[in-house]
């Protein structure tokens, strides 16, 4: 039997960007903890379908250029922070100085703020040890980040425009980037964060991200995640959310496939009356792969969660959805709803969906459903018999499957980008021969 392969030590050597002491210490500890980490295989529970797409060769460990810049379109309808290869580019960023709002890069943090960042990171969900049988590769981020953003909203602050964080990855050699965003949303604060992951160049690179939200009582945070990186980008992202009393978290993600796309979203409803709504759309084609793992933990009583994910797979692509709901013993009167519907556009495509429910409280309402289907031939015939091209008929039917989710994205610019990407997807998936 082949011995298990372990993570190369090359992955545990940061480049040495200046950082506050508290963060350096934390990063050093993370790296030490990951020494000799056994890499996932298809037998690893949470990497069953994705391990074969993982490429963690030594060349992938090298740091990507830290002084690269990237063009971004300025737009007055939003605030923008740009990260290139995980490093904040203040010269390309545009956000206001508002009382109660603080957006700082890690290297600028005061000792107190660095302590807060380190605290958020040390409690971050992406840094939790994996369950037995699983491997948590998002921990790599904690061992390698060179920079990051700490976003703090003081209690009651309402940010009227969405804040875009544009993560640009660009390289002329293989390597990896480790962007990190920490959000502390004070009591009753409100804002929308858009994470836009883009890339340029055709090198084989890995982007390993951490986004951590901490929501105070009554905070209302919307997270939008858009992934349009190039085919050669391995993307492994983790979003952790902790919600206190009566807070509300909404997430909208739109993902286009690539060589490997993985997003882990983990929400903990820790205060009574908290609620979350998680929407996700994934489309894959060619030989692309996309794996969404979500976990919703009902820790406190009287919380609501609602999750709706849709996957569409064309050609020989593969989409995975794993949705776990964990209702703790004290989380009475929990209300959890999870729906995952999947559309296979060809017989060569594959979709795997797995709901996992762990319920330890007795007074809960928990509903879940998963389906896998194909476009209905009779419906296509009906539409085409009215003169529609087969492409247009299929586009209408496919959009019917995800329209509701795309329409709910609360930022117009993101909806437009999503539609542009979807049209490109349809052009390839429904090529008329």
């Amino acid at each position: 039997m082949k011995s298990a392969s372990t993570l190369s030590s090359a992955f545990l050597q940061p480049a040495g960007q200046a950082l506050p002491a508290a963060l350096l210490t934390l990063r050093f500890d993370r790296a030490s903890a990951l020494a000799n980490l056994i890499l996932p295989t298809r037998k690893t529970e949470n990497w069953k379908y994705s391990a074969k797409h993982l490429k963690l060769t030594d060349d992938m460990a090298s740091t990507l250029p830290m002084n690269a810049s990237a063009e971004t379109a300025a737009d007055n309808s939003s605030y923008t922070v740009v990260l290139v290869n995980g490093i904040v580019r203040p010269e390309s960023s545009n956000y206001p100085t508002l009382e109660g709002l603080s957006i700082q890069r890690f290297s600028d943090l005061s000792e107190d703020d660095a302590a807060l960042a380190a605290d958020l990171l040390s409690k971050s969900i992406s840094d939790q040890p994996a369950k037995s049988g699983s491997v948590n590769l998002s921990q790599l981020n904690g061992a390698r980040f060179e920079d990051g953003l700490l976003i703090q909203l003081q209690p009651g602050l309402i940010l009227s425009k969405p804040l875009f964080v544009i993560h640009h990855t660009t390289a002329n050699h293989s390597g990896s980037a480790y962007p990190c965003i920490l959000v502390a949303a004070g009591n009753n604060s409100q804002f929308t964060l858009v994470e836009d992951y883009v890339s340029s160049g055709n090198c084989s690179v890995m982007v390993n991200t951490t986004t951590e939200f901490s929501l105070g009582d009554g905070a209302n945070v919307t997270s939008v995640r858009l992934n349009t990186e190039g085919q050669t980008v391995q993307h492994m992202g983790t979003t952790g959310v902790r919600q206190q009393r009566s807070s509300r978290f909404e997430s909208h993600s739109v993902g286009f496939g690539g060589t490997l796309r993985r997003h882990d979203l983990h929400v903990r409803l820790e205060g009574e009356g908290a609620e979350c709504k998680l929407n996700g759309v994934v489309v894959t084609q060619g030989t692309q792969h996309y794996d969404n793992h979500t976990t919703i933990e009902h820790v406190a009583a009287n919380c609501n969660s609602e999750e709706t994910y849709r996957n569409i797979a064309a050609d020989k692509s593969h989409a995975v959805f794993n949705g776990r709901i964990h209702i703790h013993q004290d989380a009475q009167k929990s209300n959890a709803n999870m729906s995952n519907k999947n559309l296979l556009l060809t017989s060569g495509a594959e979709i795997d969906t797995k709901p996992e429910l762990e319920i330890y409280a007795d007074d809960v309402l928990c509903a879940h459903g998963a389906t896998i289907g194909q476009l209905d031939k009779e419906s296509i015939f009906y539409l085409v018999s009215r003169g529609l091209s087969p492409r247009d008929a299929k586009v209408l039917l496919t959009m019917a499957f995800i329209n509701e989710l795309v329409d709910q994205i609360p930022v117009e610019q993101v909806r437009n980008t999503a539609h542009t990407g979807l049209n490109r997807f349809f052009d390839q998936a429904f090529q008329e021969v």
């Binding site: 419906s379 009215r386 529609l388 209408l396």
Partner: protein
């Protein structure tokens, strides 16, 4: 306009049409009657281009073109319209978007520029009133949650909207109450024109009280076994299919 010669068709290896012949000229209204299972819907689906049905022999020309060589959407754009016996419910696709895409696909084919949203809305409201459908239905999903009668009126509405050269109506009268039947018949009569042909498929005579056809054909076991004028329908009504030595297969199956 439409010429069908010796048409044979099967579905899932089951032979259904067995040498069907039919000639339809512009301006004419033909009715095809026949017992359940005789192949009426199969004929309509084959003409519209449903690939679930295989044509095994015979030929069909439409205005001189070989119809069977045309893709479904090309047939539609050339002017063939089928009002489905069982219109499909398509939740999530709005009627408005569907119908506008349809109208513009036809226009594009004929080198006419797209109809803008406002023009289209006006037209769609007009034709929906013509068949007594509340224009609010335009915002709903295609046939989604429609009653049987609403689905049939929606089909006639689409025919009025698209102004086809050949309208094939597959049991557009079934499942309608007297009032709805009148609305549908008025819609169909409004379609009658010297440059348009109508092929009405019906199981019963009652639609023919409202829309008087030029010709009536009786279909049995995939073949037309008798043709005549409107009086043939009355005779069938009075004497039943047994009169022609055929039995209603559905009735026989149930009996």
């Amino acid at each position: 306009m439409l010429s069908i010669k010796n048409l044979h068709a099967c579905v899932e290896n089951k032979q259904i049409l067995n040498g069907l012949n039919l000639e339809i000229k512009a301006g004419e209204v033909h009715a095809i009657m026949g017992p359940n299972g005789s192949g009426k819907s199969t004929l309509s689906q084959v003409l519209a281009g449903n690939e679930a049905f295989d044509v095994t022999a015979g030929e069909v020309t439409f205005n001189g073109d070989n119809l069977l060589d045309l893709a479904t959407e090309e047939r539609a754009r050339e002017g063939i319209f089928l009002a489905f016996q069982y219109p499909v419910e398509i939740p999530g696709v709005s009627n408005l978007q569907f119908l506008r895409t349809s109208v513009n696909a036809m226009r594009k084919h004929h080198g006419i520029e797209d109809m803008n949203a406002a023009e289209f809305m006006k037209l769609a409201k007009e034709v929906s009133k013509q068949v007594d459908l509340d224009p609010a239905f335009l915002k709903r999903g295609v046939n989604e949650g429609f009653s049987g009668g609403e689905k049939k009126r929606n089909e006639v509405m689409q025919a009025l909207l698209l102004q086809p050269k050949l309208a094939i109506l597959d049991e557009t009268d079934s499942g309608l109450d007297i009032d709805a039947l009148k609305v549908v018949a008025d819609g169909v009569n409004a379609l009658r024109a010297s440059d348009r042909a109508i092929l009405m498929i019906t199981h019963y005579q009652r639609l023919l009280d409202h829309i008087v056809p030029d010709y009536v054909h009786v279909l049995s076991e995939g073949k037309i076994i008798r043709s005549g004028g409107p009086e043939l329908a009355l005779e069938l009504e009075a004497k039943g299919y047994g009169w022609l030595g055929i039995e209603d297969q559905a009735a026989a199956n149930h009996g």
